[in-house]
């Protein structure tokens, strides 16, 4: 156990003496070796082609389920980077409003700081307070997080890009999204803490009060579209900016946006976690990854509410301006792959890749080296390589955007949704919060009547216009 003979003892150490890296690499090594042996065995015995064929058959028969599983996995996985992005926005945008700089040391312009926050949350001690109701305490963050994430299943990110095309997508969204309140109350009650109890009760009162205006505000859209299917709603906003529902239903949009702010527990309605009064509210007793779940769930909720606002009112994946006249002006016809078919080059493609890449990298590196006189040639070449990657990615994305319609749709959707997230963050930085009685008073006395008014006016307008058309 002494330092002598260190090299040999590394491999032969028992499990307890391994470092963390050793505990990861050694199992991976074992698994890798085992898989290789299994594959070689299968190939040698001639079973491999049969196995591959059988797998493909099974997959081919259940494409729907496979697609659904893939969509669900993707949705679960993308929530974390989205939360990281919104956390980064929160830190930077509020800092800019405060005339500060915000985090700028970790990663370029501070972009990795939210990743570091996520890792910090993982590394904290995860304890359960004495007297807490342990199963409820453990499950509360899970309920909140799942309720938030499951709603993403029906949101259409682009034409054809959705998790599950339900005919009652809108109803599913509100039904599942409302389950989050149960999680908040579970957290508030099971923490055995009066602050948490207050926070949980405030959450129940506040969020449930705003469920009603949230749903009523959307009824106008359902009347105009005639369907609860989210894809249909987005498609009915295609055309021009004037077809978007924010233009056709301004009052509904405003009510929905205010109610969405309250649903997500964002300032000015963030009294469920008012951290200058009841120090983190329902989440006071949570730490470590359980708190991380609440944390992430809140930011995912922000994204989901922005996404929903985009889908319902801002036209979803429709572009605000039409790009076809521009393309026709430049005589670019779609699809472009007939002109840019790499397969036509045959062996020339190999030469293009083998020689063209180093030449372009060299040219870019040379340009950088001439511009930045104090950098060495190696550093300039590395930066040239990065620029080359950037250039190729840009060209590839451009080709994709022109060819596949869903890339442009996804881009516009994300642009709108993330813009709305930034607006949520701006509101958090500027506005003070309302009191609980003002919150509920505002919901019941102002938003619900306004939403009902919106429904009546919309219905009346539809009847009037239909009768005018009918008589014409």
């Amino acid at each position: 156990m002494h330092a002598e003979g260190r090299g040999v003892t590394v491999i032969t150490r028992p499990w307890q003496r391994l470092t963390l890296l050793g505990k990861i690499l050694v199992p991976l090594l074992i698994v890798f070796v085992a898989v290789n042996i299994a594959l070689i065995g299968l190939w040698a015995s001639g079973l491999l082609p049969w196995l591959i064929q059988a797998t493909l058959d099974v997959l081919g028969a259940n494409v729907g389920i496979i697609r659904f599983l893939a969509a669900a996995t993707v949705i679960l996985l993308i929530t974390v980077p989205i939360a990281f992005l919104i956390i980064f926005f929160e830190m930077k945008i509020i800092a800019f409003v405060n005339l500060r700089v915000g985090p700028n040391r970790i990663g370029p312009w501070g972009t990795l700081s939210s990743v570091v926050h996520g890792l910090k949350v993982l590394a904290k001690e995860d304890f359960t307070p004495t007297g807490a109701d342990v199963p409820v305490f453990t499950l509360a963050p899970v309920v909140v997080y799942l309720a938030a994430v499951m709603t993403l299943l029906v949101v259409p990110f682009a034409p054809g890009l959705y998790g599950f095309d339900m005919e009652i997508g809108l109803l599913y969204f509100f039904a599942v999204g409302g389950l989050g309140v149960i999680g908040l109350m579970m957290a508030g009650w099971s923490s055995f803490n009066k602050y948490s109890l207050l926070g949980g009760l405030r959450a129940a009162a506040g969020i449930i009060s705003y469920e009603l205006p949230l749903i009523l505000a959307v009824v106008g859209i359902v009347l105009l579209t005639g369907s609860l299917n989210l894809t249909t709603i987005v498609e009915s906003q295609s055309g021009s900016v004037l077809d978007w529902y924010i233009v056709r239903q301004p009052l509904g949009a405003l009510i929905f946006f205010i109610a969405a702010t309250a649903e997500g527990g964002r300032t000015p309605f963030d009294l469920t976690e008012a951290d200058s009064e009841i120090v983190a509210g329902f989440a006071t007793e949570y730490s470590g990854m359980r708190f991380g779940f609440f944390f992430f769930a809140e930011y995912v909720n922000v994204f989901i509410l922005s996404a929903m606002t985009t889908v319902l009112f801002l036209g979803g994946w429709n572009a605000p301006f039409d790009i076809d006249p521009v393309l026709e002006f430049f005589n670019i016809a779609t699809p472009v792959q007939a002109v840019l078919d790499p397969g036509a080059l045959d062996m020339g493609l190999l030469w293009v890749i083998a020689l063209g890449a180093p030449i372009v990298i060299g040219i870019l590196g040379l340009m950088v080296w001439m511009l930045k006189s104090d950098w060495s040639i190696v550093r300039s070449l590395i930066v040239g390589f990065l620029l080359f990657n950037l250039l190729l990615s840009g060209l590839f994305i451009g080709w994709l955007a022109i060819n596949l319609d869903w890339v442009i749709g996804l881009f516009w959707f994300l642009a709108k949704a993330i813009g709305l997230c930034a607006f949520f963050v701006l509101m958090r930085g500027t506005l003070p919060r309302v009191r609980i009685d003002q919150l509920m008073g505002f919901a019941w006395k102002w938003l619900v009547p306004a939403a009902l008014l919106n429904i009546f006016v919309t219905a009346g307008a539809i009847i009037v216009i239909k009768s005018l058309e009918g008589s014409l």
Binding site: I93, V97, L99, R100, V101, L426, M427, G429, T430, L431
Partner: protein, 279 residues
Amino acid sequence: MRTDRVPGLGVVKGLVFAFTQAFRPKVTIQYPEHDDQIPPRNRGRLILLYDEFGTLKCETCFQCAAACPIECIDMGGVDTKNRFHVHWGPAEQYAERREESALRRSGRPVPDRTFSAFETIDLAPLDAILVEQEYRPRHALRILEQTQAAYGHLPVAALQHIAHQTGAWYSELYGIATSYPHLRFEAPTTHTVAICRCVACTLSGGGRVLAAFEEHLGTSVGGVSPDGAVRLQTTDCRGESAGTPRVVVDGNPLPRASAADAATIAAALRATVAQGRPA
């Protein structure tokens, strides 16, 4: 538009204002790239000051060393040969490490007599341990365990010696020792005697009982008897004393306590402990 006429306009104005502020220049000073903010009169730098003629202001009047509650100011002597315009250089180069502060070496009255340095111990066993462990600070845990085996506990003098010899910080060793429950800083005692010193208990005879315990146990309040068997400490009667002083022996309160009882109790406790230091 007046903001009190149109509802919600104040909120919108605030949001627009905040949005415009995001594009203004930031007031953050990026330390350490820009740290030229220290004014010349800043009193935070540990340097000796000169007056406007270039003469050193410090006259070594010793008031600062006498006033310092933690005795961290020291005076060094250099023959200036009557030249007062001496440039002393940066403060890092001033000090020599000394074991005793200038205040104590000067013979002046020290305000806090009850603070005494840690008692010295025989360092020979400790030196043997250190030689065996090759003075490696990374073996601190082993060193501490063997020190406890040799001395029965971890005396402060031993930790100091280890720190000086191995180069590990005292605080590191202290931290290691507090992380393990089997390492202790005081000799283990078998018994505790606790007495309340509030006014009511003292008036009902507690003072005499305390004096008797101190005499028979051979220690003052808060200390341990010389054979390490009994610890004498204070407790709190919370106002419950009903005419007798509250005396708690090993967690059991005594119904009656007098000075005579103190003698018998002390003798009984010390007799129950085996001879020599308990391991």
